[in-house]
Point group: C2
Chain length 549, copies 2
């Protein structure tokens, strides 16, 4: 019989080659097409999502003392799905019951389970796209990519690197210590890996799968039962994920409760209870810096991995493709209405303007160029809806409204298309203003006039270092200054994109190549996926004895 | 010109091979002999130490606002050495000033500096042995090994693994994403490593070098300036280490202040000030669980690696070499008067006795066998002194005195030899008594009668899991039960030695092979040296741009 591990061995090998070379690679097609997913995939996905709506989501064998779930699509309808729910003690107890068998399973078996689950999740990508779209507000094309194959890529990347760590050193050794002319001392030594404990994955509203899969799969493959705590507004994508994992676990002879769903309700969250539970030893969290700080101060028993708030910055110093610059930034600001952790916010532009292929452009011309490119991009409502999607959280709309008062409005935000929507707001703010120092999550971009480009680099990298940042971009034609920007943003611990004018955007972070979040500024410590992200999820224990004479 | 890196490249390669194979390897001879260190090494070491006594220890260019130092040898004399000292702000500022040049140095240069420093520290091993002996109380042979070559081994191991992490992934890549029939998107990507911040190494009284070198060298090679905060009673070994490192740094064109000494005085420790400083992002600590908990709760800005309190356990269930068992345990209990973090404390013995090659031995016969072996081992005072050494901390003597009241004394402790000394105390205590649940640091062993051997395994692994443990040992002739012990201690996250009766001891932890501390129980999270110990000491930052057409 072919084991799950054998079935997916080549995939694992290719993934490991990719993470080492950092070249482009993905086994999961990102195009939502029947060519890759089968001719009926699109229709099947629609039917699959329709069948989930207004129903009771089934997780056989899952702890359940009540049913919860009140998800509302940002496209204005109730999902009507109820999920099994239980109190923290019951969920943790279920995880603990599943722990010994999971821990005793070989790394090969756990990796096999993970890779098989990723394969099935890939086949489920169309259904998942609807689930992601109607919980996050992402337009369908993005929900498909980010919620499906790109999230699966991140999961696979984590599996591969965890596997590499689990098998990094010899599992046994004969240790022979010379004793001069006497016989050497000979010990046989044997190592096993032991998981850290119960893992908690705290999902976010905007990227429930993409931001959860790295920690989920790294913890599971390391042998830790995983409790998945979805955002109360984005349960379905993680419920689908948990169901697939539980099915594969059972088929592999493990216990379904090695992966659990901890559903709660807005206003009655159980996150703190779970995070502070003594048995929870690993926490993966995506969300606000405030709650990140709470976790660090209160979940002292756990290793905490976070992706938190940040201010992503752009410095516009010059370009040989002004139209491309404007179009590229317009797309980055519009995509999912600025609700990506990688979306730019503060755009620093010299007050005296910049050199371009269209001649000198004044500060106002640059800001109007970007605003105009947004207008062009969103001119066709159907196309606009496919880019903007909808606003996940009503609070974001309020933030847009308040942000208008921060400075001079260059481009106003307005509703556009179906559901709860808002196009990008562009405002000019003073570099010294408090507004320029913190995050405004959503479709809000601050245009910041600076004395010159080097001052822009200093301010942009400074706010990144202080407030955190996941991405930065610079546009320039002065190679020496580009070098200074590279140094400055490296010092701020921020990945930098230079002169993106084509069909690639600062928002994009590709698994196997881009480490997402550096860990070197306050935007978080979870670098997807570097060795520090996986290495502490398990431990090595040895036994040794003298070699029989 | 041969670089430092080139000079030591083979050493690095061999070290990496060793950590992967986990076989015996060491480049630093552990025998304090002129054959390895030169005919005059012993005399030079004595002269070197004599010259250090009653003098002002010089660290050119080090921050200095006062002089501190009141070390007393446990062999009853004052060292009379004063060290440069400064307040926390000045020390941190000096580290920050040295940081940019250290961060900008290539990993090769930093590794070269570390390996050259280790080589010079190796040549200094005889002087270091006196420094370690007269601050810790270790007898000279042990001070030489543990303070010199074995500590250097741990340093080298950390350098090698950090180097592996720093160079693990491609430093640059051409990322080409296919676009169907269109031209692929091509980006060039470049990664650099950026250090975490300032590193603090908090030394302990008993193993100032061995317990500090792993963190010190891992942090330095990762590009972090290191502040070494010695225990006020054991400054000299780390002062010598810091001096060597500063000399090599300067010779390599870096700044001496990349490694600093933060001396303080008992009762006026600056450890909390340093640990809570916002610039300090890495802390390596060896000491009490209480202070470990303080660090976790208060140094929230830092990644904290610890080795803390524990209760190491032994289960005596049976043996085919009773004399060897008793002699082996006697040595483990006597070596450095039980002041090793790896020394056994609780010895679980079936109340009905055990099968041996000398026939059945009752509980009392086993305890008297161990006690008698200790008496034999220590019968010759000169030999005894070379094993026991002296007691580092006067509080340990008080603990021995109080421990007599915990149960029935089988072997009493008494002074023996030069200085502040105490031979092992053996006491019988009830398995349920509070005494059997916590650590009694020093020459104190608890003999615990249990219903049967399996009960002993359960109790021994249970206390290890709850109170922490770095080592465990089992003596048995029942292979099935040995298997159960292996499973139980793995579950308790404790490395296990089985049937050690010869010239190898449960206390011994060899670099390149034994991971010291598993991280899987409360005895600490610093596993020397696994990837989790080094991976978070630096971060990866990228810049990317379109490939020019």
């Amino acid at each position: 019989m072919t084991t799950l591990f054998d079935r997916h061995r080549e995939l694992l090998t290719s993934a490991l080659e990719a993470v080492h070379s950092r070249r482009f690679w993905s086994p999961y097609p990102e195009v939502p097409s029947g060519r890759f997913y089968g001719e009926t995939a699109r229709a099947d996905g629609e039917a699959g999502f329709a069948a989930l709506r207004d129903s009771s989501f089934d997780l056989p064998g899952h702890p359940e003392s009540k049913r919860l779930g009140g998800e509302m699509s940002p496209f204005d309808f109730a999902l009507g799905i109820s999920y099994p729910a239980a109190d923290t003690a019951a969920v943790v107890e279920a995880a603990q019951s599943a722990a010994p068998i999971l821990a005793a399973a070989s790394p090969e078996l756990r990796v096999g389970v993970a890779l098989e689950a990723l394969s099935r999740l890939n086949q489920l990508s169309f259904t998942m796209a609807h689930a992601v779209s109607h919980t996050t507000g992402q337009a369908f094309p993005m929900a498909f990519q980010a919620g499906g194959p790109h999230a699966q890529d991140r999961g696979l990347e984590a599996v591969a690197l965890t596997w590499a760590e689990l098998t990094r050193f010899a599992p046994s050794a004969r240790w022979e210590k010379p004793q001069g002319k006497a016989e050497p001392i000979s010990l046989e030594k044997h190592w096993s890996t032991v998981p850290a404990g119960i893992a908690l994955v705290i999902g976010c509203n905007t990227f429930p799968t993409w931001n959860s899969y790295s920690g989920l799969f790294a913890s599971l493959v390391s042998g830790n039962p995983v409790i998945v705590k979805p955002h109360p507004a984005a349960i379905l994508p993680l419920a689908l994920t948990v169901r697939v994992l539980r099915e594969v676990l059972v088929e592999a002879g493990l216990l379904a409760n090695a992966v659990l769903l901890a559903v709660d309700e807005a206003g009655a969250e159980i996150t703190k209870d779970l995070a502070a539970h003594p048995a929870v030893r690993l926490i993966d969290y995506t969300g606000s810096a405030d709650f990140g700080a709470w976790l660090r101060a209160n979940a002292l028993q756990a290793r905490v991995f976070t992706e938190e708030t940040g201010v992503n910055t752009v410095v516009v110093a010059g370009t040989d493709n002004f139209a491309g610059l404007c179009a590229n930034l317009a797309f980055s600001l519009s995509l999912y209405s600025g609700q990506m952790c990688t979306a730019p916010q503060n755009i620093y532009i010299p007050v005296a303007g910049i050199p371009t292929d269209q001649g000198h452009k004044s500060f106002d011309e640059v800001t109007l160029g970007i605003a105009g490119a947004i207008d062009d991009l969103l001119a066709d409502p159907a196309r606009a809806g496919g880019i903007l999607g909808a606003i996940a959280n009503p609070a974001t709309l309020s933030r847009v409204k308040e942000a208008r008062a921060l400075g001079r409005v260059v481009r106003d935000s307005s509703p556009l298309g179906d559901g709860r929507t808002a196009t990008p707001l562009l405002i000019v703010v003073d570099p010294q203003s408090p507004a320029a120092q913190g995050e405004y999550f959503g479709p809000i971009a601050l245009l910041v006039p600076v004395d010159d480009a080097d001052r822009g680099i200093a301010l942009a990298s400074g706010v990144a270092a202080r407030a955190g940042a996941i991405t930065a971009a610079v546009y320039d034609i002065d190679e020496a200054r580009i070098g200074r920007a590279i140094t400055a943003f490296a010092g701020a611990g921020t990945n930098l994109s230079v002169n993106l004018t084509g069909n690639i955007f600062v928002n994009q972070s590709a698994a196997f190549s881009d480490f997402h979040v550096t860990g070197a500024n306050p935007a978080g410590n979870a670098s997807l996926t570097d060795p520090a992200f996986v290495a502490g999820r398990f431990h090595r224990v040895m036994w040794r004895r003298p070699v029989a004479a």
